[in-house]
């Protein structure tokens, strides 16, 4: 159901403006007509924006994101620090934030640089591990060992040249000394460790330079340390850095826990204050008076009127009126459904908001969605498992979407159990095997056609209901072409059904004239209402009805897969393998059944059913309120 809205105008003395806005913010029922908050700017607004940005930056630096756990009491406590004129409050908070930021940034900087260093050292250790034995052996012999990045293609030539150069530097009586160890690193590169005598050391950089090889150095190692000493230093650093990182993480975690909620509360208050300032700035001023305009659900009008009267007596004047039909497309849409249907509003959140005064399909979805979905699952065992998970999700009250999904799944599980009894399925044919469970209606894995005919009939009823709602909507909204098109569609459908019944001999021949007359009238209505497109649309309606056969198709595949799962017990026996395979297939089937049934049932509603009457494009009702929800940060 879509609530009736009224247009209100609040007039008051300028001196009372901020108080009035605060009261409206507290009440949280008025959808104010204000420009986008980014469009307005003044000194106070800009300062608040800056403060808000700084708070968000600090929260991100602290890696705090527990918005859902933020209690109202903490926000109320933080409100006291904002109970000053904006400039003063901003200055006060800003100063404290700067001090906190300075302390935090030192710790974060150290943590981040140590993290980077640890990563680099870890990579260096991996490289060293390839050469460790070589470096130690050669070091013991008193040779000079160095490590070089070089190209794989030129490595052989490089070694030959190096050998020649070393030969020149080696006394004639001695044999030249060159040992190396190479490890390919990337596609075209390798690391080459060279061990030479101290006397031939000068040849190495010269030859390496001529082949564009680069000397590998251990990160963080300063000074001219030998490779062996560098290896030792890497090992030493790798032993103390994790301990220091742990200490720093502990400090940051404690800061996060103690400061995160405080900063988040301040952020929310800054955001709220900013909203109030924007409303204040955008209000209309006339002499000593101001005016605010907006929309409010008619059932909330008394509440607003009483509160304004109580707090401001004659300083504020409230005027209101119902919108004219010309204004309907400007009125925000507020949904109101019985508590039992409310969670099903979730389906409309995936679509554009319905227009004001149009039809809210939530109640219909609440009735048909679980029915279709349950029919596709159609298994007592799966229904019970769904009920268990649904109950678990439903209890997650801090996450409204999950809780709503849980609530919807409770209905789905209820219908799954009922359809399961009708089809005689309990984890496929396990019910039959264990306690001779028999179908109350029919076994869908054998009686395919009756189930398909039933689902198509169900689809026909659902689509006809959609068309009737479309006609009703068209007449209500005075869209003559719309209702004519829907009526023509319905007429074509009914007349062709009648023809079919007459051809089957279930109705006497004279009814044929009636059905043909109905068909002609319907085609005329279709042409007037929707032109050639209307005719095409009527053919689409038959496709829409046939589309409901998916309920049978998905149900059948689910039923067969469940039977296959139980069949594994027959094949492998009642052993571990048999039970494991059966459980694995049942889990797969359960996930497919729940996912598939939900998706297809939703699609049947979105396309086949709601496509006949749903008019989207309305503006969502967003009351000017203090935001106590998990969307604080995102909005």
């Amino acid at each position: 159901m879509i609530r009736d809205m009224v247009r209100i105008a609040v007039w008051g003395l300028i001196s009372q403006r901020s108080n009035v806005i605060e009261v409206l913010h507290d009440l949280g029922v008025v959808h104010l007509e204000t420009p986008q908050r980014t469009e307005l700017s003044n000194q106070e607004i800009d300062k608040l924006r800056l403060l808000r940005g700084k708070l968000l930056g600090l929260l991100e630096a602290l890696e705090w994101s527990d918005w859902n756990t933020l209690g109202s009491d903490l926000i109320e406590r933080a409100r006291n620090s904002f109970d000053l004129p904006v400039n003063e409050a901003v200055r006060e908070v800003d100063r404290s934030l700067d001090r906190f930021n300075n302390r935090l940034s030192v710790t974060l900087k150290e943590r981040n640089s140590l993290r980077d260093l640890f990563l680099q050292l870890h990579q260096a250790e991996e490289i060293i591990n390839h050469f460790k034995n070589f470096i130690i052996d050669e070091g013991k012999k008193g040779k000079n060992v160095s490590l070089w990045w070089n190209s794989k293609n030129t490595q052989t030539r490089l070694l030959n040249d190096l050998k020649k150069e070393i030969r020149k530097l080696t006394p004639v009586k001695d044999r030249e000394y060159l040992r190396y160890h190479s490890v390919p690193i990337r596609e075209k590169e390798s690391l080459l460790s060279i061990s030479v005598d101290m006397e031939a050391l000068s040849a190495v950089p010269e030859v390496m330079g001529s082949f564009d090889a680069i000397k590998w150095k251990v990160p963080s190692v300063t000074g001219d340390l030998s490779l062996m000493e560098s290896v030792r230093q890497v090992e030493e650093n790798l032993s103390w850095i994790p301990l220091r990182l742990e200490e720093l993480e502990k400090v940051i975690s404690e800061t996060r826990q103690s400061w995160g909620p405080k900063l988040a509360s301040l952020y929310i208050l800054a955001d709220e204050k900013l909203e109030e300032l924007v409303v204040e700035e955008s209000s209309l001023e006339k002499g000593n008076y101001f005016m605010l305009e907006g929309w409010i659900p008619s059932d909330e009008l008394d509440l607003l009127s009483e509160r304004l009267q109580k707090d401001f007596q004659e300083d504020v004047l409230l005027r209101w009126r119902y919108p004219s039909s010309d204004e309907w497309n400007l009125v925000p849409t507020s949904l109101y459904n019985w508590k039992v249907f409310k969670p099903f509003e979730l389906f409309l959140k995936l679509l554009e908001t319905p227009k004001y005064k149009s039809l809210d399909p939530t109640a219909f979805i609440a009735v048909f969605f679980p029915l279709f979905s349950g029919c596709m699952v159609g298994d007592v065992g799966y229904g019970l498992v769904t009920a268990f998970f649904a109950h678990f999700l439903y209890r997650k009250k801090h996450n409204q979407i999950l809780s709503d999904i849980g609530y919807i799944l409770i209905f789905v599980s209820f219908w799954s159990i009922l359809w399961g009894i009708a089809f005689g399925e309990f984890f496929g044919d396990l019910g039959h095997r264990l306690f001779h469970m028999e179908p109350l209606w029919l076994e869908r894995s054998h009686a395919v056609m009756p189930v398909m005919i039933f689902t198509v009939s169900l689809g026909a009823a659902h689509v006809i209901l959609g068309l009737l709602l479309g006609i009703f909507e068209g007449i209500k909204q005075k869209h003559h072409r719309h209702w004519m098109e829907k009526a023509g569609n319905l007429g074509v459908l009914v007349s062709l059904f009648l023809c079919l019944i007459i051809l089957k001999g279930w109705l006497p021949g004279p009814f044929f004239t009636i059905s043909i007359s109905l068909l002609v009238i319907s085609v005329i209505l279709l042409m007037v209402g929707g032109g050639i497109g209307g005719l095409v649309e009527s053919l689409g309606t038959f496709g829409n009805i046939l589309s409901y056969v998916r309920i049978a198709a998905i149900g059948l595949s689910s039923a067969i897969l469940a039977i296959v799962a139980s069949e594994f017990i027959n094949v492998f026996g009642l052993g571990i393998l048999g039970i494991f395979m059966a459980v694995a297939i049942h889990i797969l089937n359960f996930v497919l059944a729940i996912g598939g049934s939900g998706l297809h049932s939703a699609r049947l509603h979105y396309v086949e059913f709601m496509g006949k009457f749903y008019s989207s494009g309305g503006e969502e009702y967003k009351p000017f309120s203090r935001r106590r929800s998990s969307h604080w940060k995102k909005r």
Partner: protein, 72 residues
């Protein structure tokens, strides 16, 4: 032999639309993922668009069932 031909016909009735559906869903899915990343409010429309080609394979399935029930 006759049964084998019927089985083949039924398999083709499901198989060909299944390929077509898969192709269409792959295209819609990749485009949809990009759209939802840019505009999360289009998620509902994307679910609808993603599910639309499945009608082909479901109707193919109906034809296959009818073939088997009528002739096998």
């Amino acid at each position: 032999m006759e049964k084998a031909i019927i089985a083949l016909a039924a398999a083709l009735a499901v198989g060909i639309p299944a390929f077509a559906t898969a192709y269409a869903q792959a295209k819609i899915g990749s485009a949809g993922a990009g759209t939802v990343a840019e505009k999360p409010e289009t998620a509902g429309i994307m679910i609808i668009l993603e599910a639309i080609p499945e009608t082909m394979v479901i109707l193919g399935f109906v034809v296959a069932i009818m073939l088997i029930l009528q002739f096998a």
